[in-house]
């Protein structure tokens, strides 16, 4: 099975190389048969890699420790539901998983959009007009596959054997990864990272082919949304994992690997906003193309940061030599982007100028500006230790203090724009309209601010955040209410049903509003950290510790043992206002295979706050357990906000009923088909 898997990866590499070379030659010499042959090869990469991935999973479940990767990352006692996580827990396996996801995306793109043999692009309906781009986009995807499959075959093979002997048992999975979130978080994060290759491929293909019309931007936007959705959920799940597992009471530490995932998210978010200017007004074409390029390049750069050991991170893979491969690939990718841009930049001229700074267009420009400044600040802070080492010979650390100080004001301004943007009209907004639309929400925001001040809260950032949250929520609610009220009058249905009808008639707009609500909830959850409290102390029998509104009392101490780990737990009674409300069990595990100890957090989460307990070990002299206790207000809203963002994105991805109606418009079809025929 080991050999079979290795050959499957090699076959995938050969297929990808063929697909890329044949595709390039086919497009340059306009040889249709060669292009079709390249597409088939690209399609075949996915089954080949599926076989390889299944082989690796089979070897993991068979505890085949002749394979170095499995000996390093798995062991016999590992529960089956964590064995699947072994696939992405190490450098080699996760690279194979990455390649498999990439080939899966290429497979879906080709299967969903491939021209049938013998059918020409000019026979396409407008709905399928973007399919004219699929052949070239698939060649670009094959080019990306070549790079990752080269790594899989020649730099980091998941099927390599141990140099000598076979151990009786493996080293086991890193205890930090033995959590249910680890079965979901990395695949979603990778689906996001890898997914940005698809909009990149379509965008580059459109630029190279000088594809007329706006169809290419529609398909690019949809694929960006898919990748953005996965990346968003993946990032938040990573935060949830850090919160539940790492035991420091937080969820985001501005770690280089966390930042690496956040960077393409920021540029992808900027693109999802600015693309509307291109669709509605034919503006910012160059900007959009570069945002798509930057998002893809930052995704690859993030992978490079995680895998190369360039920056130190608790989340990074072990230092390896594959960094050089990434540098070469990034250099080639940048060169291709630059060449394609300079050769075809006349194709990207704006169709309309900006008419007023009080307009939706200007709002999007400011939104993009703020997102890009945040992205630059994060990239700069992430790389500064490396830069300072080059310049001064010593690493200057850049941690949470820097990132919080720089980014909090930026993101508060972004939150303000989240509310303002949708209320601005295209082209120009009158002062009367601004006053009418903003007065109510602004008064509500000011009232919330006054209320917070009256409650004695003085930390400026949470106060401003709560006020802006009220402002944005009021604006979104107003938008839904106005539309639903008019629909309700016409259809004589209730407001709720009318709001649903309104949303389904323009999924993109109202799905976007739902995403904004999710962002607001997430911001409120983050602002809650301004009120965090923490304490720690020894907890012998009946000892008490107070944190937030809670009093903790140590009741007992218990031990357990199984094949994978032995554990010790504190039993802690939680009282609030003199009344017992819960019993919690913070514990520590000793993982036998890896000889590592891990704190198991006990978390009692409510909508208002979390009580978060960490058993930090025993005093060796007195045998008294030490307990860290954290009171984290509003943190649950971060996870709820992420769910709302996911829901909103799915709504926005659904076709609007209006879009279906527009597709039935025959004159547009004829016009666009004529344009496609020229490609």
């Amino acid at each position: 099975m080991q050999l079979f898997g290795a050959y499957a990866v090699l076959l995938a590499f050969v297929l990808a190389v063929y697909a890329f070379v044949a595709g390039v030659v086919g497009h340059l010499r306009r040889r249709r048969r060669l292009i079709v042959s390249a597409e088939r090869a690209t399609l075949a990469v996915f089954p080949a890699l599926t076989v390889a991935v299944l082989c690796l999973i089979g070897l993991i479940f068979r505890n085949d420790f002749t394979v170095a990767y499995i000996a390093e990352h798995s062991n016999r006692a590992l529960p089956f539901y964590f064995k699947i996580a072994v696939l992405w827990s190490g450098q080699e396996g996760s690279l194979l998983f990455w390649s498999w996801l990439l080939s899966g995306y290429a497979f879906v793109v080709l299967l969903g959009g491939r021209l049938r043999p013998g059918r020409a692009a000019d026979e396409l309906s407008p709905k399928h007009a973007h399919r004219a781009l699929v052949p070239l986009a698939s060649v670009i995807l094959a080019g990306v596959e070549v790079f990752f499959l080269a790594l899989n075959n020649f730099a980091a093979s998941a099927f390599a054997s141990l140099p000598v002997g076979t151990p009786a048992d493996g080293n086991g999975l890193n205890p930090l990864l033995q959590y249910s979130q680890m079965d979901i978080h990395p695949p979603l994060l990778y689906l996001g990272y890898v997914g940005f290759a698809v909009p990149f491929a379509f965008c580059l293909a459109a630029l190279l082919k000088r594809y007329p019309g706006d169809r290419w931007i529609h398909i690019t936007r949809r694929w960006t949304m898919v990748a953005w959705l996965f990346l968003t959920i993946g990032i938040v799940l990573g935060g949830l994992w850090a919160y539940k597992v790492l035991g420091w009471g937080g969820y985001w530490a501005w770690d280089p690997v966390e930042n690496a995932a956040f960077l393409p998210w920021l540029t992808g978010t900027a693109f999802l906003h600015s693309v509307m200017m291109q669709e509605k007004r034919g503006m910012l074409k160059i900007w959009n193309v570069w945002l798509v390029f930057a998002t893809f390049l930052l995704a690859i750069f993030g992978d490079f940061l995680t895998r190369s050991g360039l920056v130190s991170s608790v989340h990074a893979f072990a230092q390896s030599s594959i960094g050089g491969w990434f540098v070469i690939f990034l250099a080639i990718a940048v060169a291709v982007c630059l060449a394609a841009f300079f050769k075809n930049k006349d194709f990207l001229k704006s169709e309309n100028p900006l008419e007023s700074t009080a307009s939706r267009e200007a709002g999007f420009l400011f939104n993009n500006f703020v997102l890009l400044v945040a992205a630059f600040a994060i990239l700069w802070g992430t790389l500064f230790p490396v830069i300072s080492e080059w310049v001064e010979g010593q690493k200057i650390s850049v941690g949470r203090v820097f990132f919080d100080r720089i980014n909090v004001p930026i993101f508060l301004f972004l939150l303000f724009l989240t509310g303002v943007g949708p209320l601005l009209a295209w082209r120009r907004t009158s002062a009367a309209s601004l006053k009418r639309n903003f007065l109510g929400p602004a008064i509500l925001g000011a009232a919330v601010l006054a209320l917070c001040l009256a409650m004695g809260w003085r930390d400026p950032y949470p106060l401003v955040c709560f006020a802006l949250a009220a402002f944005v929520l009021a604006i979104v609610a107003m938008e839904f209410y106005r539309g639903a009220r008019v629909l309700s009058r016409r259809s004589r249905r209730g407001l709720a049903l009318s709001a649903v009808e309104l949303t389904m008639r323009n999924t993109r707009r109202y799905g976007g509003y739902i995403i904004h609500v999710g962002i607001v909830l997430l911001a409120v959850g983050i602002a809650g950290s301004g009120f965090n409290q923490q304490t720690e102390g020894p907890m012998p029998y009946r000892a008490k510790l107070a944190v937030g509104p809670y009093t903790l009392t140590s009741l007992a101490y218990t031990q357990d043992d199984n094949a994978n780990f032995s554990s010790e737990a504190l039993i802690v009674r939680v009282d609030q206002g003199g009344r017992e409300i819960a019993t919690m069990y913070p514990s520590r595990r000793f993982y036998k295979a890896s000889n590592q100890t891990q704190s198991m957090v006990a978390d009692r989460s409510t909508l208002l706050s979390d009580l978060y307990l960490v058993y930090a070990g025993d005093d060796p002299e007195t045998n008294q357990p030490i307990l860290h206790a954290y009171w984290n207000p509003l943190i649950a809203w971060i996870w709820i906000g992420a769910l709302v963002i996911g829901f909103g994105t799915i709504i926005a991805l659904l076709p609007s009923r209006t879009a279906a109606a527009r597709r039935e418009n025959p004159p547009a079809r004829v016009a666009e088909t004529a344009e496609v025929a020229q490609v």
Partner: protein, 177 residues
């Protein structure tokens, strides 16, 4: 198998007790405890976890934390003995390198890290305003500025009617579509 969870050596426990004493004192508003916390918040673990010295290290292979914990016990002593903040932080930098500081200093080469984001923001804003100015200069004057840019309702007659009705109530709502 009996496994003891004596997590760190004696120093670790000494640190916990020192912290406990300082926390307790902190509840009473002890300026020494407040100063200890203020200084500890300026320090962080030098292993890849990069956690604040007031938090638990999340890196199970951390090799530096024991030394740092010992240094933190010394920190509590130095705070009590009245050494200046700068002197105390400098002692940490000399022992563990500049990575031990939670935030880069605001002098020397480190100042660049603080300045650059705002320089970039300033340049970006300047570029943005220049583009806005250029576009406004190119604006065709003959075209009526109030004409809708995109068809209201995205081609859906029912939605267009809804938007028209809202527009009558609210002025220019339909142009936001």
């Amino acid at each position: 198998m009996q496994v003891r969870f004596a997590s760190r050596p004696l120093r670790r426990i000494s640190l916990a007790l020192a912290l406990l004493g300082l926390f307790t004192a902190g509840l009473r508003g002890d300026p020494v405890a407040e100063r200890y916390h203020r200084l500890a918040a300026k320090l962080r673990c030098v292993c890849p976890c990069h956690q604040s010295m007031l938090s638990e290290c999340s890196n199970m292979q951390c090799s530096a934390r024991a030394q740092l914990d010992a240094a933190m016990v010394k920190l509590s002593q130095k705070v009590r003995s009245g050494d200046s903040d700068e002197l105390i932080l400098q002692a940490f930098v000399q022992e563990f390198g500049p990575e031990v500081l939670a935030a880069p200093p605001t002098h020397g080469f480190s100042l660049v890290v603080w300045i650059m984001p705002w320089v970039a923001a300033g340049l970006g804003l300047w570029a943005l305003l220049a583009v806005l100015h250029y576009w406004r200069a190119q604006r065709p004057s003959a075209e009526p500025a109030t004409a809708p840019a995109a068809p209201a309702g995205d081609g859906d007659p029912a939605l267009a009617r809804v938007q028209a009705e809202i527009a009558r109530e609210l002025g220019d709502w339909e142009r936001r579509e």
